[in-house]
């Protein structure tokens, strides 16, 4: 196709990675972008390709359609999840504009964590956690009071990754304190985190707490064929050594398809079989949501998984888009032309594409102004400087105001290192972080430990531990089964 035009919706680190992938395409597309902030990195690609950068509300379907028409885009690539939840892909397709992005109906997989679990149980998809959903806080209270155990409290709707609290409640001598916090947090989920989201009935989800290494399996799909990408491990804790607050992700690692230590190193976080099973689970999730809604899934779907002792590969959450920062890991090693993949999705002939990924280790490290994640007011508005040419640095939460780049309150840049092994790639990413600073002297932080040898050893040890238990259960035919003997009542089986 001559003079191809693409509109990219969204302006974070993930979209910068997508823009970079488009810029490598042999189709040499003209890139347009619609975002609510000016991402300096995407802006550069847009400028170089001869496209245009629009500022606007990415969650407003009319606005996106308008931008698509104005740019005369051949297709639109939707980066983040919220436009999906707002029906942006639906409106684009209604208007005859092809779109890579899960439509409103199928993005329910991500938007409603409660529906996702319902579906998983209804279709008996492996890796399903025990859960309970509530419409009001009051409904949940007797349950929290009575049932003391280790749980994850989650907003029932995807709320930008915020509001999740995992409370391990095992030590009975600390139960009262933990129950109090569970109760208070459940209340703030319903009253604060879910405030303003009136597109969903259920407000609060309580799930059993599990442990094990986490990983994300991202896939392209046209609804029939699924192209799985390398498994990526994100790091959610804000501070080094997996300490502290939950973030959108402080950095991610990948190597090969199954999180190997290095290109020529047999050690890995996942076995080939576990990776294969995880992809199978994501496929089953896609099939079930299509069956349930009668709609086609065109775009990206990802399983945010954990290797647990209960199930082996287990679904924690589903994404209806690429992960951030996980997008950087997979797109930077994607050998196949991303435009070819997009066109195949649109034409529903993804089966004709053989997607290839370079066998390299990739480590992405997010750099954040102090204050992130809980005091974004303090983290935003600081002028940002990058020494050198900026190669390997993805702009994330940043904006251009009066000709200056300022921090937006979240992860300001993502530094991407590539190497023969994860520790080597981590070292490269580490050196890139040194090039980033805030001109007003406000502190930046990032996690040096992501992808380090020590961290890899711990992740692999944790995986081995979970594996030993779930394989034992598998051998005994107990995979996913949970049995509780309730004195006076008898044996209760879940799973």
């Amino acid at each position: 196709m001559m003079d191809m035009k693409i509109l990219l919706v969204g302006g974070a680190g993930r979209e910068h990675a997508i823009a970079a992938a488009f810029s490598r395409s042999g189709h040499e597309p003209r890139l347009y972008c619609l975002s609510d902030l000016v991402n300096p990195g995407i802006k550069e690609f847009v400028k170089r390709s001869g496209g245009e950068y629009y500022l606007g509300n990415i969650n407003d379907p009319e606005g996106v359609v308008k931008a698509a028409k104005k740019s005369r885009a051949d297709f639109v690539f939707v980066g983040p999840e919220e436009p999906n939840f707002h029906g942006v892909p639906d409106r684009l397709e209604d208007g005859g504009i092809p779109c890579i992005g899960a439509n409103r109906a199928v993005s329910e997989l991500e938007m409603s964590k409660a529906s996702m679990r319902d579906l998983q149980w209804k279709y008996k998809i492996p890796g399903r956690l025990w859960y309970k959903k509530f419409k009001t806080f009051e409904e949940a209270v007797p349950y929290i009071e009575e049932y003391a155990d280790s749980v994850a409290l989650k907003p029932a709707r995807q709320a930008g990754g915020k509001g999740v609290k995992v409370i391990e409640d095992f030590q009975v001598y600390l139960q009262e304190d933990k129950r109090k916090v569970k109760r208070e947090h459940a209340e703030s989920i319903v009253r604060e985190y879910m405030k303003g989201y009136d597109d969903i009935d259920y407000k609060l989800l309580i799930e059993e707490r599990v442990w094990g290494p986490e990983y994300t399996v991202q896939c392209f799909t046209d609804g029939r064929t699924v192209i799985p990408m390398p498994a990526v491990q994100d790091n959610k804790h804000a501070f080094e050594g997996d300490l502290g607050l939950e973030t959108g992700g402080m950095g991610s690692i990948s190597c090969g398809m199954n999180l190997r230590w290095g290109v020529d190193d047999g050690r890995a976080i996942l076995t080939d079989e576990e990776y294969r099973k995880s992809v199978e689970i994501v496929k089953m999730m896609i099939d079930s949501i299509q069956k349930e809604t009668g709609e086609k899934y065109h775009g990206v779907v990802a399983g945010q998984m954990m290797l647990t002792s209960v199930w082996g590969p287990t679904v924690i959450e589903m994404y209806s888009r690429l992960g951030d920062p996980e997008a950087g890991n997979v797109l930077s090693v994607l050998k196949t032309d991303i435009v070819d993949i997009c066109e195949a999705i649109i034409g529903e002939r993804l089966n004709t594409i053989k997607a290839e990924f370079e066998d390299r280790a990739v480590v992405v490290k997010a750099v954040c102004p102090e204050g992130y994640p809980n005091r974004r007011d303090m983290a935003s508005g600081h002028p940002v400087k990058i020494r050198g040419n900026g190669d390997g640095i993805l702009w994330a939460s940043a904006d251009v105001r009066e000709g200056r780049i300022v921090s937006g309150g979240s992860r300001v840049v993502e530094c991407l290192g590539v190497g023969e092994s994860i520790p080597e790639a981590s070292g490269r990413a580490e050196r890139l972080t040194e090039k980033v600073s805030l001109e007003d002297g406000w502190k930046l932080f990032h996690r040096r430990d992501i992808g380090s040898e020590k961290s890899m050893e711990r992740r692999i040890a944790l995986a081995n531990m979970a594996r030993e238990i779930y394989q034992y259960r598998e051998r005994r035919g107990l995979l996913g089964k949970r049995m509780i003997w309730i004195p006076g009542k008898g044996l209760v089986e879940v799973g």
Binding site: E168, Y173, D177, V181, W211, G244, E246
Partner: protein
């Protein structure tokens, strides 16, 4: 010595008090005479007193999401109960001893705590902001670990550059971090992480917690290490890791080494509770000589060696160690203890066993002879009280009334710990301490 603890929870809906109480309980073996816990939240509250944690920390209305606490063995008569206040705004819990502070002239005429306070007042201006606090502890020399907190609810925790005293970091999910003398604290109040309960804090490393961040800094670069040997012999709990080495593994290895160095034909192996039990079990496993329970306890379990005076110690031993006659009657006994300080309590045990009919008693000690008073605060008495400094093994056997008596050799001990000699402080066995 002491057991120190710091808990930092970011979300102020948490009350750290009970975590502090049970955390200090897990450190109780490091100090049974005083307990103190300071809570920082909307206000600052301190609960403290003489006695065990469960006797002292009984408050029901103490609140705060940050806390620092300590348990200590016998303090000086009027000494402040840890955590101590450095200037009214900064509180600190210290394990081990700070021997000097760079740039400050130590005054031998005033108390230890007073010296620290004066040094702090001289060197830290504006009431202890984060940099002032870090700077102060980086100028402290000696064998110590510390947790300190200021009025802005900023907490730092670290180890002196020699790494004499231990300190580990544990986590509580997305909610915060815990620092403590020993990793067993994490099993009791922390998140149960299946791979390892806690992360070792390196010598010269400082862990910083503020309402906005948590990170690690390396403030000292000295390569000289002097990990306290006595942690492995006696001080630490067997379910802890000290410097990433499982204490139980060392104690088992010590038992095996005792066989290598001091095997003797006998009918039964008996360990002196509680510390020497793993030594005895390993000795038995190695030789095939059955291990037996030799004693029964009356009253509460106490660490008799850490009692402040001879009467208290003997009281402790006699109540703790009533000999089960059926276990020893007519038998040749290998009696294993962790260490010998003055030898009085050992003499008492041997006497009691002979009285209950033991035919022979061969004493084996799971550490080398103690010849020196520890400058870093391990409760070793003055040198003129130390039996090992003055008498040879053969003589000690006669004094305590045993048929034979043997220490573990220093080389054997080093082998059992599995570290290189230069990384250990062996001062209590050799009289040679690292320069501070």
């Amino acid at each position: 010595m002491a057991g120190i603890l710091g808990i930092y929870l970011f979300d102020n809906r948490w009350n750290a008090y009970n975590f502090g109480v049970f955390g200090l309980m897990a450190l109780q073996h490091r100090g049974q005479e005083t307990a103190g816990l300071e809570l920082l939240g909307d206000q600052r509250q301190k609960v403290e007193g003489k006695g065990l944690v469960e006797q002292v920390l009984t408050s029901t209305n103490t609140k705060g999401h940050v806390c620092v606490g300590a348990v200590s063995p016998y303090p000086a008569e009027d000494a402040e109960i840890q955590p101590i206040s450095l200037d009214g705004k900064v509180s600190a819990a210290i394990d081990g001893k700070i021997l000097k502070v760079d740039g400050y002239r130590w005054n031998g005429a005033v108390a230890y705590e007073e010296n620290l306070r004066r040094a702090f007042a001289e060197q830290v201006k504006d009431g202890g902001d984060l940099d002032g606090l870090k700077g102060f502890f980086s100028r402290c020399r000696g064998g110590f670990s510390y947790v300190a907190v200021n009025e802005k609810r900023e907490m730092i925790a670290g180890r002196g550059s020699l790494g004499v005293k231990p300190l580990v970091l544990g986590k509580m999910g997305f909610d915060g971090g815990i620092v403590a003398s020993e990793s067993c604290v994490m099993d009791i109040i922390g998140e149960r992480v299946p791979i390892s309960p806690a992360e070792n804090i390196e010598p010269g490393e400082v862990r910083v917690f503020t309402p906005l961040s948590a990170h690690s800094e390396q403030v000292a670069t000295s390569k000289r290490r002097a990990f306290c040997s006595f942690e492995y012999v006696y001080l630490a709990r067997p379910d802890s890791y000290i410097n990433d080495v499982p204490v139980y593994r060392v104690r088992r290895s010590i038992g095996k080494k005792l066989v290598e160095e001091g095997a003797v034909d006998a009918d039964v192996v008996i360990g002196v509770p509680e510390t020497a039990m793993p030594f005895a079990m390993a000795f038995s496993n190695e030789t095939g000589i059955p291990v037996e329970k030799g004693f029964e306890l009356t009253g509460r379990r106490v660490r008799s060696a850490m009692k402040p005076n001879q009467l208290e110690r003997l009281k402790g031993v006699q109540l703790k160690l009533n000999v089960i006659s059926e276990a020893v009657k007519g038998k040749r006994v290998i009696l294993i203890d962790d260490s010998v300080v003055r030898g009085n309590t050992l003499a008492n045990i041997v006497y009691l066993m002979k009285e209950k009919g033991a035919k022979e008693i061969h004493v084996r000690i799971g550490s080398p002879h103690i010849v020196s008073h520890c400058p870093f605060g391990v409760e070793v008495p003055p040198e003129d009280e130390l039996i090992g400094k003055h008498l040879l093994e053969k003589k000690i056997a006669e004094v305590v009334g045993a048929d034979s008596f043997k220490y573990l050799s220093i080389d054997g001990f080093i082998d059992a710990v599995g570290m290189s000699r230069k990384d250990l402080c062996l001062g209590c066995f050799t009289g040679k301490y690292p320069e501070v």
